[in-house]
């Protein structure tokens, strides 16, 4: 009898990840039940109702997030950087080049350090011509709708400046697997649920619902490539006079400057008489 | 020209002339006192004292004679497995339940407190509120927990609030009167101080924080302001008034923090069930669990204590 070769080791079947939305700190499927295919994975396809729910979650979380100390927000953002650093291989496996992952981590760290400094750089005492104490201080505008660019660094570059000052966001993400992996990082970083909400799907379909939503305070169109669509969304946003960041930023490696933060800040100036 | 005489009891001016309360400062002081570490023998004594200070409470639309009988039995003997465990101070129920409780508690030494005056809102005509009070006392309550009219207070009609308390005090006869300020509706610590003084000037035996029926009930800083008020009132008038925080006090740790507050603000004279009560329900079982842990040395579980 010929000797048989040893049986090949059984192949271990992998446990595939399900790509869902990230709303209110939890990972629900789309209420529409729809998905779309990305590299063989079924990814949740967000609907207008998901966008509506995300706005509700963002609004609910906003007062508490804005009310946290700047120090606390800075530490949460730093922890997000720690978590991304720990998962570098995962992002690389999804095709994000190592230097880009490093740049994204460093970008989080940069923003973490702004939470307790932006007021010192963007606010201050005003020497009015009268016996009054007068102070200008920045405040977050509230809930921001963000249409994110496709790259990981781009995604990070639109979320961090919005939330570091106390805004909460609803993000329409372009690269879904990377976005969901980021959502998993956020879910393990002491970030309160609802501060960042990530919807995967077709931005062109859901963005108009964010742009026209009366309970969204600002709209970041950085991820919109189509100028006609951008103009439409801006027109729609005008309905409730939202603050709008127009598309145009493409080099996310460069020093972002203060604008991505200040565009989403209100300035409050307080007066008080001085005298006895 | 002759001098102008202002009315002797200008309540509004008096209340507005009281020193203000700085919110950040009072909350920081309460939090700092909350870091006191009370261990071993001190903790055991504190737990027993806290048990003796509990006004075991049920104030639900769904209360029945069965529920109130069970609660009364628990009030007298909180831990059937341990006869050394003291009884609570009182039980606290709606007027309709007073006769049931009176029967069970008779002769036990546990007081019977009834809420009255259209509890919890107080939004009823005065004669209804007075009848409510009289009936509860007639049915056997020896303590009355009334609510002030927050509407009148917040619209500045302090004399009305005062007069109502005086009237309820009369209707309550021999029963001892606790006045619920509903601090969660008063808006500021300054108002808590003013309402405390108003109630004490009107003759309250106890001032109480809350009905437990609105979102914000007793807190350490609110109780601190009230303790300062009773301290200052006694210094000014010679009369001692008790304090009762109610609602939201669930754990032994919370209760001990309140005892520390009393200890370092008004001292020994108030560290007694005659002058301080906890309006609570689930607190009792946590106190019993902690008491048991101190005697057995291991953590207790809820299955070992009666629900009521």
């Amino acid at each position: 009898m010929p000797k048989s070769s040893p049986a090949p080791a059984p192949v271990r079947l992998s446990v595939r990840k399900t790509y869902k939305l990230f709303i209110g700190g939890a990972f629900p499927r789309s209420e529409s039940g729809r998905t779309y295919l990305v590299d063989g994975d079924n990814v949740a396809l967000a609907s207008r109702k998901d966008a509506r729910n995300a706005v509700l979650a963002a609004r609910k979380a906003q007062p508490k997030w804005a009310g946290a100390t700047a120090y606390n927000r800075g530490q949460v953002l730093y922890r997000i950087a720690e978590m991304i650093e720990a998962r570098r291989k995962e992002f690389s496996a999804l095709g994000v080049a190592a230097p880009e992952v490093a740049a994204a981590i460093d970008r989080w760290v940069w923003y973490a350090g702004w939470s307790d400094k932006i007021a010192q750089v963007y606010g201050g005492a005003n020497p009015v011509a009268g016996p009054y104490f007068n102070l200008s201080a920045p405040e977050p505008t509230g809930v921001v709708g963000v249409i994110a660019p496709a790259s990981f660094l781009g995604l990070v570059s639109v979320i961090a400046p919005a939330i570091v000052t106390g805004n909460t966001v609803v993000v329409l993400a372009a690269g879904p697997q990377v976005a969901v992996t980021l959502a998993e990082v956020l879910a393990t970083s002491d970030l309160p649920g609802g501060v960042v909400n990530i919807l995967t799907g077709r931005a062109a379909e859901t963005a108009p619902w964010l742009a026209s939503h009366d309970d969204v305070n600002a709209l970041d169109l950085t991820g919109i490539d189509d100028p006609e669509l951008a103009a439409d969304l801006e027109r729609s946003a005008a309905g409730s006079l939202k603050r709008v960041i127009r598309p145009g930023r493409t080099d996310f490696r460069a020093d972002p400057g203060l604008h991505p933060m200040t565009a989403l800040l209100e300035t409050k100036t307080v007066w008080h008489p001085k005298g006895f | 020209m002759t001098a102008t005489l202002l009315p002797a009891t200008d309540l509004r001016s008096f209340l507005r002339g009281l020193p203000g309360v700085d919110k950040v400062g009072v909350e920081a002081r309460a939090a700092a006192l909350g870091t006191r570490s009370v261990k071993t023998t001190a903790k055991a004594a504190a737990i027993d004292l806290a048990i003796r200070m509990v006004d075991l409470t049920t104030l639900e639309g769904a209360d029945t004679a069965g529920k109130v009988r069970a609660l009364s039995a628990k009030a007298m003997r909180p831990d059937p497995a341990d006869p050394t465990c003291p009884s609570v101070a009182a039980i606290c129920v709606y007027p309709a339940m007073v006769p049931v409780a009176a029967e069970v508690l008779s002769g036990s030494g546990v007081h019977l407190a009834s809420v009255a005056t259209a509890f919890p809102s107080g939004q009823a005509p005065l004669d209804v509120k007075l009848a409510d009070t009289r009936d509860a006392v007639a049915a056997g309550a020896d303590e009355i927990d009334m609510v002030i009219s927050r509407g009148s207070f917040l619209s500045g009609r302090y004399d009305e609030v005062f007069d109502e308390i005086v009237a309820v005090q009369q209707a309550a006869g021999p029963a001892h009167l606790k006045v619920i300020l509903e601090t969660g509706e008063l808006g500021t610590y300054d108002n808590v101080r003013r309402a405390s003084w108003l109630a004490m000037l009107a003759g309250a035996d106890f001032i109480k924080t809350s009905t437990g029926k609105v979102p914000v009930a007793a807190t350490l800083p609110v109780t601190l302001v009230m303790l300062e008020a009773v301290r200052d009132f006694r210094a000014r008038t010679g009369r001692q008034v008790g304090v009762k925080p109610a609602g939201g006090i669930r754990t032994t740790k919370d209760a001990i923090k309140y005892l520390v507050l009393i200890n370092e603000t008004v001292g020994d004279d108030w560290l007694h069930p005659d002058w301080f009560r906890f309006g609570a329900s689930s607190l009792l079982n946590d106190l019993l669990m902690q008491r048991t842990k101190l005697t057995t040395g291991h953590y207790a579980g809820p299955d070992y204590f009666t629900l009521d």
Partner: protein, 472 residues
């Protein structure tokens, strides 16, 4: 009063070596001389510590100089990450460091745990975030560091003073040689270990222990670009003289005799808390302590009665007991000074009062004390006692309060207690003090600049302003 039972924090979390060397160029090295550091609550020797001599100071400065080039050339984002690491490690080792601080300094564990250590970590976090944003700090488009900074710190908040000095210096790109106070060297030596844990490049931070001579050698060293000193006005004056004519930049944070002003419309209970906190926090070993109470005469009785009643609940005792409010006096020398000035106060005619207090037999202790009937002409109203001793003066009008508050060569801090906003802001405007606390006291934050007017020194630590001292 119900007694709380002893609640000691365990000291086993601290691993103390019998002796420590100097931390130069990333390693601990020996020195010829040494001295001992004791626990002021028990007089027990904690460890033997090296005393740096002239060659040691030279070596340390040289190491800082060598490290300066590469450190300042690093992108700010990289320096930031070192500082973030240090901040994190401090948070992780916070309990250990708090116990150590209480052992070496004598302050209550409640304070080192709840005040000192959180602020230390927060300082490093805050300045870490400036390292890569210097262009936005308001000091030009590309501000450069100065070079090697010589930093000499006091014994009252050892690790916190270290954080105030090292964090901004490093964020701006400088390297440092720091000398902790001779009675409290240990937390700085443990910090050196944290620098190693963080893989900080050798020579960026150097810790040299020693006494006044070591400090003088360091400050007068010719290869130092910047001097930062916190301590007595007397030594600050000497340092200012010694750097005259050299190119060295200098900042000084010196003594104070702050006025804590209570108006009759104050929230009295909170004002009393503020008075107590102002002078008894950290045993009164605070440069910005509210050591003069200026109380409006119309509120005098009410405030004093309330203050005395409150002081009776202060617990003096074992610094490691979690319920202790007031710990040990830092040294025999300091205790002698406090006693001397208190005797002078009584001799000058002021009335002395302390609540009944049981002081331990071993160690250095002083009961919280107030002197009433004090006037501006009394020495105890002018000289910094640096202990738990409050001088009480009165005033009639806001103008008089301002006048008395400002009538001192010092100008570090002041307190204002009133419920009236316009009064507070107008008085704050007129006070010649670098920090004005209204309806609060002894509040510190890494974002909030701290420093004095007049003989309380110059320069600010904390906030955006705190970077200025370390940039060219």
């Amino acid at each position: 009063m119900f007694a709380y039972a002893p609640a000691p924090e365990s000291r086993s979390i601290v691993d103390l070596a019998p002796s420590y060397g100097l931390f130069i160029d990333g390693r601990f090295t020996d020195a010829h001389d040494s001295f001992k550091t004791v626990n002021p609550a028990s007089e027990e020797v904690l460890a033997e510590v090296a005393a740096a001599g002239p060659e040691d100071v030279d070596r340390a400065v040289a190491a800082a100089r060598r490290a300066f080039e590469p450190w300042s050339a690093l992108p700010g984002a990289e320096r930031a990450k070192y500082l973030f690491r240090i901040a994190r490690i401090i948070q992780e080792r916070a309990r250990e460091l708090a116990v150590l601080e209480s052992l070496d300094n004598g302050k209550p564990i409640k304070e080192s745990r709840d005040v000192d250590l959180p602020l230390v970590a927060a300082h490093f976090f805050y300045y870490a975030g400036w390292a890569d944003k210097l262009a936005y700090a308001g000091f030009g488009a590309d501000p450069r560091p100065l070079g090697v900074a010589a930093q000499v710190i006091p014994w009252n908040f050892p690790l916190l003073m270290l954080a105030w000095k090292i964090a901004p210096a490093l964020a701006a790109g400088n390297t440092v040689v720091l000398k902790p106070a001779e009675t409290t060297p240990l937390s700085a030596l443990f910090f050196a270990d944290i620098c190693r844990q963080a893989d900080l490049p050798p020579g960026v931070v150097n810790i040299i222990t020693g006494a006044g001579d070591t400090g003088r050698l360091l400050v007068e060293h010719p290869d130092v670009n910047k001097v930062a000193f916190t301590g007595s006005t007397e030594v600050g004056r000497a340092i200012a003289r010694s750097v005259a004519g050299t190119g060295k930049r200098v900042t000084l944070e010196l003594g104070g005799k702050a006025a804590n002003i209570v108006f009759d419309d104050a929230a009295i209970d909170q004002a009393v808390e503020g008075i107590v906190n102002g002078i008894f926090f950290n045993q009164g070993h605070v440069c910005c302590a509210g050591s003069r109470l200026l109380v409006q005469e119309s509120a005098y009785d009410q405030v004093l009665d309330s203050l005395k009643r409150r002081m009776a609940t202060l617990r003096v005792g074992d610094p490691l007991d979690k319920n202790t409010d007031i710990g040990a006096i830092n040294s025999a020398a300091q205790l002698a000074r406090i006693r001397e000035l208190s005797e002078i106060g009584a001799a000058e005619g002021a009335e002395r009062w302390s609540p009944p207090c049981e002081l331990p037999a071993q160690g250095f202790w002083f009961a919280p004390t107030i002197f009433t009937g004090v006037t501006q002409a009394h020495r105890i109203a002018r000289e910094e006692i640096f202990g738990p001793v409050l001088s009480v003066l009165t005033f009639r009008t806001p103008d008089e309060a301002v006048e008395k508050a400002n009538n001192t060569p010092y100008g570090l801090s002041a307190g204002i207690w009133s419920e009236k906003g316009s009064l507070i802001l107008a008085v704050a405007d007129k006070l010649r003090a670098g920090v004005v606390w209204a309806n609060t006291f002894n509040k510190f934050d890494p974002t909030s600049p701290f420093g004095g007017y007049k003989e309380s020194g110059y320069g600010r630590e904390g906030g955006r302003h705190g970077l200025e001292a370390y940039l060219a």
